[in-house]
C-alpha cells in the first residue's frame, strides 16, 4: 500500500516537474493576462455592441428589442449609406499617398545630401496631433488666408478660387489631401525601413550590368519590398473606408463632408441612437472584412509566386510564349 502511494506521488511530482507540463504551465500563466485583457476589453465590448445593434436604445433609459430593424434602416435610409461614397476620395488619396511615399523613400534611401533633415520634415506631420492639424488646416483653407495668399502670389485672382471647405466640388479633395500630408511620412518611414533591408550587393551588380536608377527601382527595390507595400495598401484602404479625423476636426462633417464614420459618431453621441450606431459599426466592420478579403485574393492570384517562382504576369507571358511556339511549330 505504502509503496504504491509513494510511487504515485513520485509520478505526480515527476509529471509536475517534467519539462512538458512546465512548459504548458508557463504558457498558460503568460497567456492568462493578455487573453483576459483581450477578452474583457475587445471581445466582450464587441459582443455587447452586437447586442446593442438589435435594440432601440439610448445610453440611459429603457431598451426595446427591434431585431434587425437598425440594419434595415442603414440600407434603406439613403443619407446613411450614401456617406460610404466619400470613401472613394480617401481611397484615391491613399494611392497618391503611397506613390509619393514610395518615391521619397526610394530617393532618400540613396545617398542624398541632408537626407536626415528631409526625412524629418516629411515625417513631422505624423507627429502632430489630429486636433492641432484640424486647427492648422482650418486657417490654411480660410478664405484669404494661407492657401489663397499662396495661390494669389502665383497669379490667381481671389474670385477664381473656390471656398475650399464649403464648395462640395473640392472640399472632400482638400480633406483627403490633408490626410495625405499627415500620413505620407509614416508610409515613407516604413518603406525606407524595408528598402534598407535590401542587400546592397544587388545594386552593385545591377550597376555593373548597366542598370539605371529606374531599372534598379523596378527590378530590385519593388520586388523586395512587395510585402510591405501590400500591407500598407490594406491599411490605407481600410483606413479610407473608415476615414474620420480630417472631416471630424476640420469641417465636422458639414457641407457634404460627413463620412460614414462621422455620421456614425454623431448618431452615437449627439443623437443618442446607440442601437443604430452599433449596427452601423458592425456593417462597417463587415465591409472592411469583405474588402480586405477581396484584396487578399487579388494579391494571392496576381502577385504571389507559384512553386516555379513565377507571378501571374510571368505565367501569362510564358503561356503566350508557349502558345506562340506551338503555333510556329505547327505552322
Amino acid at each position: 500500500m505504502d509503496e504504491h502511494r509513494v510511487k504515485r506521488r513520485r509520478a505526480f511530482r515527476q509529471r509536475l516537474v517534467s519539462q512538458r507540463s512546465q512548459q504548458l504551465f508557463t504558457v498558460f500563466v503568460f497567456l492568462l493576462i493578455p487573453l483576459t485583457l483581450l477578452g474583457v476589453f475587445t471581445y466582450f465590448p464587441f459582443a455587447k455592441m452586437a447586442q446593442f445593434s438589435l435594440y432601440d436604445m439610448r445610453y440611459i433609459g429603457k431598451r426595446t428589442f427591434v431585431g434587425l430593424r437598425n440594419y434595415l434602416d442603414i440600407f434603406t435610409r439613403e443619407e446613411l449609406f450614401r456617406t460610404l461614397r466619400l470613401s472613394f476620395y480617401y481611397l484615391a488619396a491613399s494611392f497618391v499617398q503611397l506613390a509619393l511615399a514610395l518615391f521619397f523613400a526610394s530617393v532618400l534611401s540613396f545617398k542624398v545630401r541632408a537626407a536626415g533633415i528631409f526625412k524629418g520634415i516629411i515625417f513631422f506631420p505624423f507627429l502632430v496631433s489630429g486636433i492641432a492639424i484640424g486647427f492648422i488646416f482650418k486657417f490654411f483653407f480660410t478664405r484669404g488666408f494661407v492657401l489663397d495668399t499662396l495661390l494669389i502670389f502665383m497669379g490667381f485672382e481671389q474670385s477664381q478660387l473656390p471656398y475650399w471647405l464649403r464648395d462640395s466640388q473640392v472640399n472632400n479633395i482638400m480633406l483627403a489631401a490633408t490626410s495625405v500630408w499627415r500620413y505620407m511620412g509614416q508610409n515613407m518611414v516604413l518603406f525606407i525601413g524595408a528598402i534598407m533591408s535590401v542587400d546592397p550587393q544587388l545594386y552593385e551588380s545591377a550597376e555593373m550590368d548597366g542598370a539605371n536608377t529606374w531599372r534598379k527601382f523596378l527590378n530590385i527595390i519593388l520586388p523586395s519590398i512587395q510585402t510591405i507595400i501590400v500591407l500598407n495598401m490594406i491599411l490605407s484602404i481600410t483606413g479610407s473606408i473608415s476615414a474620420f479625423e480630417p472631416p471630424y476636426v476640420i469641417t465636422n462633417g458639414t457641407f457634404g463632408t460627413g463620412t460614414y464614420f462621422v455620421v456614425m459618431n454623431s448618431m452615437a453621441h449627439e443623437k443618442q441612437k446607440v442601437g443604430l450606431a452599433a449596427a452601423m459599426a458592425i456593417v462597417l466592420m463587415a465591409i472592411i472584412v469583405l474588402v480586405t478579403a477581396i484584396q487578399k485574393i487579388i494579391v494571392k492570384v496576381f502577385f504571389e509566386e507559384d512553386k516555379n517562382g513565377m507571378i501571374f504576369s510571368e505565367r501569362r507571358a510564358m503561356k503566350k510564349r508557349l502558345a506562340k511556339k506551338r503555333k510556329e511549330a505547327s505552322a
Binding site: D56, F118, A132, V146, L165, E270, K271, K273
Partner: protein, 478 residues
C-alpha cells in the same frame, strides 16, 4: 526636387504659424484647478481685534428667508466651497471672502474649483463629506434633492423674493438658490447699429433682416456672424424656440411633445419656424460672413468688440466675454430675440447653477453657509457683475440687459408628472434633436447657402419625423 522642398518648407512654416495663432487664445476656464485648491485663504482669526462672544446656535438651521446678514455674529466655521468657475476662483471669489470676513471674521471659506465640474461633483455628492456648499449639479433629479441638500425653505415664500426659486425644488420645498440667471437674446454692436442708421432695436424677424441689410449697405461689418464651424454655436439657436418665440412657459416641455406639426410656419412671425427663418433668410440673402465653413470662435470675440461684426445670436453669458475681448466694452449691446407675440416681446430665461448646502454638515457650518450664500446672493453683486439677471427680484438689471426692461422673462415649466421623458423620447427618436445636436441647424445654413431645400421643406421633414415619433410613443397630436 528643389521646388518641392521649397513648397514643403513653406507649407511647414505656414502651418506651424497657423498652429501658433490657433493656440494663442486658450479657453477662458483654463487655469488649473489644483492651483485653486492649494491656495487656502489666510486664517481669519488674526483679524479679530476684540473677541466677539460666540452666539448661541439653534438645534436646526433656520430657513433661507429667516436668516439675515448680521445674525449670529461671532459664529466660527470653516467652509468648503465647490465651484465650477475656475476662471475667477483666485480673483473675484477671494474678494468676496475678504468682504464677507469683515462681518464674520471667524468664518473661513476654502474654494475648490473643479474643471470637470458636473462629472466630478456628481460622483462626490454621493459621499456625505464632500464639503459644505456647492453648485447643485443638474444630474440630480429634483426628487432626489431631499437626500443630499439642506432644505432652504418653502418655495412659495422664497419665490416672493428670488427669481427661479422653483428650479431646484420638490414638493413645495426649495433646496437651491440660483447664483445667476441667463436670458436668451441677441448680441449686437451698438456702434455698428448707429453707423448703419438703425435707431430702434428690431422687434420682429422682418425688422431684424432689414437691420442686417442696413448694416451691410452702410458699414463694413459682417451683419450676422454665425460661428458656423464651431458647431455648438449653431445648436444655440434652439434656445429661442420656446419662451422667446411663443411667450408660453408651457411650450417647450408640455406642449411641444403633443403639438401637431410644431415646426410649421405659423404665418405671424412667431414660433420655432420664425426663429429658424431669421437664420435661413440672413444666410440666403448673404447677410452673414463670407465663408461660414472657416469661422473662428475665439477670434470672433475680438471682431465683435472691434465692430467688425454687427450681431451674434448667443445667450447672455457671452456678453462679458465680448466686453473683455477688446477696448470697446461699451459697444456691446444685448437685445431680445426679434420676435413679438401679439405685439409683446418675451425672452427665454433660466437659472444658472444653484447654490446648495450639504445636508450632512454640522449646524454651525449650515448656518455659516446660509449666511455666506445670503451674502453672495444679496450683497456681492455676483450675478449683476457677470452680466446675468439678478436672483433677487428687486435688484436692477445690469446695464447690458437694459434693453430687456419691460420684456417678460419666460422660464420653461417642467413637464407634467408621468410625462417627464416624453419630450426626450420624441426628440431623440425623431432625430430632430433639439438642444442635443447641431445638425438640424447646420442643415438650415447649408440649404440656405447651397440654394437647395427651402426652409419650409426642411421643417416639413422635421414635422413628418416628429409626427412619426409621436405615434410611436402613443401621442395623438393636437
Amino acid at each position: 526636387m528643389k521646388k518641392f522642398i521649397a513648397i514643403a518648407l513653406s507649407l511647414l512654416f505656414t502651418a506651424s504659424l497657423a498652429a501658433c495663432s490657433g493656440s494663442e487664445s486658450p479657453p477662458t476656464d483654463a487655469p488649473a484647478s489644483n492651483a485653486a485648491a492649494s491656495s487656502a485663504p489666510a486664517p481669519s482669526a488674526e483679524k479679530t481685534d476684540e473677541p466677539v462672544e460666540a452666539p448661541e446656535l439653534p438645534a436646526e438651521a433656520p430657513s433661507f428667508d429667516q436668516i439675515n446678514i448680521g445674525d449670529y455674529a461671532g459664529i466660527t466655521a470653516n467652509l468648503q466651497f465647490k465651484t465650477h468657475r475656475t476662471d475667477i476662483v483666485d480673483t473675484i471669489f477671494q474678494g468676496y471672502i475678504a468682504d464677507f470676513q469683515k462681518i464674520y471674521p471667524n468664518i473661513s471659506i476654502n474654494y475648490e474649483a473643479i474643471t470637470d465640474y458636473a462629472e466630478t461633483m456628481t460622483t462626490r455628492v454621493s459621499t456625505p463629506d464632500w464639503g459644505d456648499i456647492c453648485m447643485i449639479v443638474t444630474t440630480i433629479p429634483n426628487t432626489e434633492l431631499i437626500n443630499y441638500f439642506q432644505p432652504l425653505g418653502s418655495t412659495s415664500v422664497l419665490a416672493e423674493t428670488y427669481n427661479f426659486a422653483d428650479n431646484k425644488a420638490n414638493a413645495g420645498v426649495t433646496y437651491g438658490i440660483s447664483s445667476t440667471n441667463n436670458v436668451q437674446g441677441v448680441l449686437y454692436n451698438k456702434a455698428v447699429f448707429e453707423q448703419a442708421g438703425i435707431t430702434a432695436v428690431p422687434k420682429t424677424p422682418a425688422e431684424f433682416i432689414d437691420a442686417l441689410k442696413k448694416v451691410k449697405e452702410n458699414t463694413d461689418a459682417i451683419p450676422l456672424y454665425t460661428n458656423f464651424s464651431a458647431g455648438w454655436t449653431m445648436g444655440a439657436w434652439d434656445a429661442y424656440i420656446g419662451g422667446s418665440a411663443t411667450g408660453d412657459p408651457d411650450f417647450m416641455n408640455i406642449k411641444l411633445p403633443h403639438a401637431k406639426d410644431p415646426f410649421k410656419d405659423r404665418g405671424d412671425g412667431t414660433g420655432p419656424y420664425a426663429v429658424y427663418s431669421v437664420l435661413y433668410d440672413a444666410v440666403s440673402q448673404g447677410l452673414v460672413e463670407d465663408d461660414p465653413s472657416t469661422t473662428d470662435w475665439e477670434g470672433s470675440k475680438g471682431m465683435f468688440n472691434r465692430g467688425e461684426i454687427a450681431t451674434m445670436v448667443l445667450g447672455s453669458w457671452a456678453i462679458v466675454q465680448m466686453q473683455e475681448a477688446g477696448p470697446n466694452s461699451a459697444d456691446v449691446g444685448y437685445m431680445s430675440f426679434p420676435i413679438s407675440v401679439n405685439g409683446k416681446q418675451y425672452a427665454s430665461a433660466g437659472p444658472d447653477y444653484n447654490y446648495g448646502i450639504n445636508l450632512n454638515s454640522s449646524v454651525e457650518n449650515k448656518i455659516a453657509s446660509l449666511l455666506y450664500i445670503k451674502y453672495l446672493v444679496e450683497n456681492s453683486n455676483f450675478d449683476y457683475d457677470q452680466g446675468g439677471v439678478p436672483t433677487v427680484k428687486t435688484h436692477e438689471l445690469p446695464s447690458t440687459l437694459a434693453a430687456f426692461d419691460g420684456i417678460e422673462l419666460v422660464a420653461d415649466n417642467p413637464a407634467k408628472e408621468s410625462e417627464e421623458d416624453l419630450f426626450t423620447n420624441i426628440n431623440v427618436d425623431s432625430e430632430v434633436s433639439l438642444n442635443m445636436d447641431n445638425q438640424h441647424v447646420i442643415d438650415i445654413v447649408e440649404a440656405a447657402l447651397g440654394g437647395g431645400k427651402t426652409l419650409a421643406q426642411l421643417t416639413d421633414e422635421w414635422n413628418a419625423r416628429w409626427t412619426a415619433s409621436q405615434e410611436k410613443y402613443g401621442v395623438t397630436p393636437e
